[in-house]
């Protein structure tokens, strides 16, 4: 439906880089549901948890985590609130590297990422492997600011950015795909920006 009087005043975004319905911003908007949690690095740890929830398959403290092999990455990110940011630069530990360090094969096909502040989001393990997912701790060459998820956040750039859980503290393996925080509040279970999987049913 054409909107009377609406004209395109901006440069049309490059459709090979910017998914439908998104606009490019040079800003870095912040969206989250509650106050920014602040955990001291001494108390921080990252865990891989088994399907039953209590078995920890592996954990790393902050210093151990920094000692893991890290990878730099430059990617475009896409938020469900319709901004995209191009060429963002991060450094972190890929999920492949984490599994390797733990000597693990993924024990189940899904995970729930859990975070300080109680946030959760669900992901298919497949979406995290082959370099497609990492736990990032640097943005633009500096530690990630708390409001952007620091000290560490998930980074899954090929999905809408709510999947890139801030303040992440671990991954819990799941046999079934179970909705996390925003997914139980009407957002899509997977969230592929290229298919505009914004809300449940899209």
């Amino acid at each position: 439906m054409i909107t009377r009087g609406f004209r395109n005043k901006r440069q049309r975004p490059d459709p090979s880089r910017v998914p439908p319905g998104q606009y490019v911003t040079s800003d870095f908007p912040v969206l989250s549901a509650g106050p920014t949690p602040r955990t001291s690095l001494d108390d921080w740890s990252f865990a891989l948890r088994d399907v039953d929830g209590d078995g920890e398959l592996a954990t790393w403290g902050w210093k151990e985590f920094l000692a893991l092999p890290s990878t730099p990455i430059a990617v475009d990110i896409h938020c469900v609130t319709s901004w995209s940011k191009l060429d963002t630069r991060w450094r972190g530990v890929t999920i492949d590297a984490l599994l390797e360090a733990a000597g693990l094969d993924p024990p189940a096909p899904y995970v729930t990422a859990f975070c300080d502040g109680g946030y959760t989001t669900n992901l298919a393990v497949e979406d995290l492997l082959d370099g497609r997912g990492m736990v990032a701790y640097e943005f633009d060459g500096a530690p990630i600011e708390p409001e952007h998820g620091g000290p560490a956040r998930l980074l899954v750039p090929h999905l809408y950015f709510w999947k890139s859980a801030k303040w992440v503290r671990g991954l819990q393996f799941m046999e079934e795909d179970e909705p996390g925080f925003w997914e139980t509040h009407g957002y899509h279970l997977r969230g592929d920006p290229w298919k505009e999987e914004r809300y449940a049913g899209d």
Binding site: F6, D27, T36
Partner: protein, 248 residues
């Protein structure tokens, strides 16, 4: 279980109300509107003749008790969608929207216990839906509203807030101006700070449910201060109206 997609609907603009020199309320008739909860938003999609589309989120300012829905949009000088909505849109025009969206930053009168609503600028919009709903339902839950504006001209819903507060049913409204205040201004004149939050809002012992909405920097600062005053983080809900997310 597969869910049906949330449909794009064609809404008709019934009326445009000038709220301030920078903000307008758009009253819409939305055929098939399924109803909403105070605090929810819609996504608005604009389409140019050449097929170009732009899409943004706008909170609903009207309570569920009213027919249709109302959005209140603040004009950003070099904004793309807000300038169209505030400069160009007229009664009788049609807009595409989908919703209601967002099920977390919501409040209904079924919830007891005190309420603390903190707004920066257009962040008042979803809070106003809660305030209007509270009034429509005759709820008396103690409700403290603290709003920060740049200048007195920017105050949205000023008369209505004053009228509702005058009903003496537990609603208290405080305005603060951060840039310039007229000589006869009786409210506060500084950014929201720790002292203001502890003086104007119920304390942590009262276990209020807090809703904070506005520009990112303001929401960050208020939510952090509330936590430092002893409010439980899980009783503080925030909505940040990105963009303007600070440097990084």
């Amino acid at each position: 279980m597969p869910t049906a997609p949330i449909a794009w609907r064609s809404a008709e603009v019934r009326e445009i109300v000038v709220e301030t020199p920078r903000a307008k309320t758009i009253r819409l008739e939305v055929p098939g509107w399924p109803g909403h909860l105070p605090g929810q938003h819609v996504d608005v999609r604009l389409t140019a003749e050449d097929g170009y589309q732009a899409q943004r989120s706008y909170s609903i300012s009207s309570p569920p008790e009213e027919d249709g829905i109302a959005l209140t949009v603040e004009r950003l000088d070099d904004g793309e969608v807000s300038t169209f909505l505030t400069d160009e849109l007229r009664a009788g025009d049609r807009l595409e929207l989908r919703g209601p969206l967002g099920g977390y930053f919501t409040w209904t009168a079924a919830r007891r216990g005190p309420l603390a609503l903190v707004a920066g600028g257009s962040g008042i919009v979803p809070l106003m839906a809660m305030i209007r709903h509270r009034a429509a339902r005759g709820s008396h839950v103690p409700t403290h509203v603290l709003c920060s504006w740049r200048t007195a001209d920017d105050v949205i819903y000023r008369d209505e807030l004053a009228r509702l507060a005058a009903q003496a049913d537990g609603l208290e409204v405080t305005h603060t101006l951060t840039r310039r205040a007229p000589v006869d201004w009786r409210g506060l004149t500084r950014r929201i700070d720790r002292e203001m939050l502890s003086e104007r809002l119920p304390g942590p012992d009262a276990r209020p449910l807090s809703y904070v909405c506005g520009p990112t920097a303001m929401v960050e600062s208020v939510a952090t201060l509330l936590v430092s005053l002893g409010h439980a983080p899980d009783r503080i809900r925030t909505e940040r109206f990105g963009p303007t997310g600070g440097a990084r």
